[in-house]
Amino acid sequence: MIYREAGDFKTTYKDDSQTFPIKFDRWGYYVILAIAFLVIPFVINDYWANAVFVPFLIYAIAALGLNILIGYCGQLSLGTGGFMAVGAYSVYKLMTAFPDVSMLVHVVIAGLITTCVGVLFGLPSLRIKGFYLAVATLAAQFFLVWLFNKVPWFYNYSASGMINSPERTVFGMIVTGPNTSASAKYLFCLIFLVAVAWIARNLTRGSIGRKWMAIRDMDIAAEIIGVNPLNAKLSAFAVSSFFIGISGALFFSVYLGAAEVGEAFGIQKSFLILFMVIIGGLGSIFGSFAGAAFMVLMPVFLKNVLVGWMGWPTDLAAHMEFIIVGGLIIAFLIIEPHGLAQLWRLTKEKLRLWPFPH
């Protein structure tokens, strides 16, 4: 009834091809942005920032990055954790080498370094496809983790191999280190997420995105109609690694504050982000957000309900979390194999007709 496109006339091509063609969607988007930027920073506390929002924002960036590679370009990758580690260790080296430079610059440069590494490990994708490529990127994952464990230069020769993020600022505001305010952490990550999502959206509906999708759908056909697979695949690896590098940099410097590569960026991180993308929906920007929210918030929510409200023992609750989250994942994939994004799409279709479906 309220959610409909009737009466929403477009008179220019620009209007017609905008991201949110339906007025209701558009307003919803503006309202969410306004709340995210103007309301939440003023009410957020340490728990909300560190346990809920910051991990969600950072994982959403990583999921967007992986979604470009897998969902849009069809290149299966299991190296996400390793690429996040590249971002984290780059930003660590930059932070300690150039303490006076703004963190904004450091994070972007860390993303660019990850881009180079990602393109390098993307080269095999020109020769191998599908599961074989997944295995090749798996090698990247293990190699990078091994590298950061093995070479002491990366962790500045510290006794334990841990990297610690010192206090750094953006325009005089502290964004890393223990004295960071909750709202600064949140806003810093939010700015990156919004920028990354905006870039992703505009890339995927432009010519580059169409080339990626052509490669994904059928690479030989794409080549015949004039898509250069070298450019398309490597650009997907580049953009994807750039986003994942940013998320890794934020994950270490803003969220964790101290990290060791095997524990923070191991193979389980690659799987976690892959699951986010699959559950959220392959080839969907919204899906990346939904998947990240599901995988990050669900365990925290369940823990608070089971332990905080119902007073269950913590071990029982932790095991139940696994069962419930696992069960939900299976249920979602059976009900809707195309992920939460497709569920959302269907809901919107139904809402347009509601309450008169015939």
């Binding site: 728990y47 334990s160 191999g161 280190g177 524990e263 332990v307 913590t314």
Partner: protein, 427 residues
């Protein structure tokens, strides 16, 4: 989206429930995952001691204790969540039982003004109280452990181990890497040859590492393992018929759960210890009466008397004693985290005070000062008797090589201070 927002609001409301008029001790435990086998006994001991104090003494100085348990699964991200969830409830002291989580909490807890007691783990250089105001790691740390193990080898060999070979099998994480530098320094001093062999998390697969040991035949093997890595390593050592009396684990690799799976083959395996073993202490009478018989034991209640249960008791005991000290210093019963820190810094554990608590000869004497947050660094060696299924202390609590360790601590803490622009205290 709305549903998600609603659920998030729900979670936040619950996280923000304040608790007043209690002494809050968070227990960042792990009863799930590959490290649960070691996490459970510690968490049970920690909880049971607080239950005992509540039931027998009515709390500390008349104020009841509230322990909040939070499951970390030995995972640093969950550790952050647990820290944030519990710190708002008035947490007095954190004992995360994880070196990785300790590393994260060091800057955070220092900024929030909550003491962290990483007893026998964590960042070793936190022993330097001049730099680490809020962090304590008495009574002993990893570098003491490394030195005590080498001292034990020296004792066996009559003080000369030049030319001997020592292999270190370690968990490939901050925890396992901690002793390497000390062992390297000590190898320069004593002339033994050190080989380091890493085992990746979680450590269920160690065939290649032990093949290397079988090939190189080191005279002694030291182990820095945790969780499922321990029983696997001991089993592999048995499989290659490595002489168990030459295999020495750190205190985190020396619990019943680590050796029992290897059966009779584990007989003679050695591990370090910084507190007593077994349940032959008067305190256990009270535990039986007030906690176990009352049906208030934590977990399954089957861990009493095990090594890590004792360590949990010990950790809780030290926290309670520090709180008592804080109450005495400040003259108030409802202490704050800052007051507890003062109590920790003035903590004196003597033989008489341990006996009064029902734990005679349980651990070394501790005397914490502003400069020294690490205690004396004494430790002992225990040996597993597979026939009797128990650990026996085979040495006294002896000193470690503080000449070497002191320099390393000064160097590492100075690096931390420079990185974080901290100026020295206690001057």
């Amino acid at each position: 989206m709305k549903l998600k927002l609603a659920s998030m609001v729900l979670a936040g409301v619950m996280a923000a429930v304040p608790a007043m008029a209690d002494l809050v001790y968070p227990s960042l435990s792990y009863r799930t995952g590959p490290y649960a086998v070691n996490g459970i006994p510690f968490a049970d001991g920690y909880a049971d001691y607080f239950t005992l104090i509540n039931e027998r003494d009515g709390g500390i100085g008349g104020v009841p204790i509230k322990m909040i348990e939070c499951e970390t699964g030995y995972n640093t991200e969950k550790g952050v969540e647990c820290y944030e969830a519990t710190k708002g409830q008035g947490a007095l002291i954190y004992q995360p039982l994880s070196t990785g989580i300790t590393y994260q909490l060091i800057p955070k807890a220092s900024a929030d003004g909550i003491p962290v007691h990483s007893m026998g783990y964590g960042r070793t250089s936190a022993a330097n109280g001049k730099i680490f105001e809020w962090i304590f790691n008495y009574p002993a740390n990893y570098w003491n452990g490394a030195s005590i193990a080498i001292n034990h080898i020296l004792d066996i060999n009559g003080g000369d181990i030049a030319g001997k070979s020592v292999a270190l099998v370690y968990h490939n994480s901050a925890y396992g890497k901690e002793p390497i530098r000390t062992l390297e320094e000590l190898s320069k001093k004593h002339g033994y040859k050190l080989t380091t062999i890493a085992v990746d998390h979680p450590g269920q697969e160690q065939k290649s590492q032990w093949l290397q040991i079988r090939r190189e035949k080191p005279d002694y093997v030291l182990m820095w393992g945790w969780g499922v890595m321990n029983p696997v390593a001991i089993q592999e050592a048995v499989n290659i018929r490595y002489p168990m009396e030459n295999f020495i684990g750190i205190w985190w690799s020396g619990s019943e759960n680590d050796v029992i799976p290897a059966g009779a083959g584990a007989n003679g395996y050695k591990a370090l210890a910084f507190h007593g073993v077994g349940n032959d202490y008067p305190l256990y009478g009270d535990l039986q009466k007030y906690v176990v018989d009352a049906g208030k034991a934590a977990g399954a209640g089957d861990q009493l008397g095990t090594v890590l249960y004792n360590r949990g008791l010990y950790a809780a005991m030290l926290a309670v004693e520090a709180t008592k000290k804080a109450q005495a210093i400040h003259g108030v019963a409802q202490v704050t985290p800052a007051m507890v820190r003062d109590g920790m810094e003035a903590l004196e554990i003597t033989e008489a005070s341990m006996a009064a608590l029902g734990l005679p000869n349980f651990g070394p004497e501790i005397s914490v000062t502003c400069e020294n947050h690490g205690g004396a660094g004494d430790g002992a060696v225990t040996q597993w008797d597979a026939g009797a299924q128990k650990w026996n202390l085979i040495s006294d609590f002896g000193p470690s090589d503080m000449d070497v360790i002191g320099k390393l601590i000064a160097g590492d803490s100075a690096a931390y201070a420079a990185e974080n622009k901290i100026s020295e205290r206690c001057n």
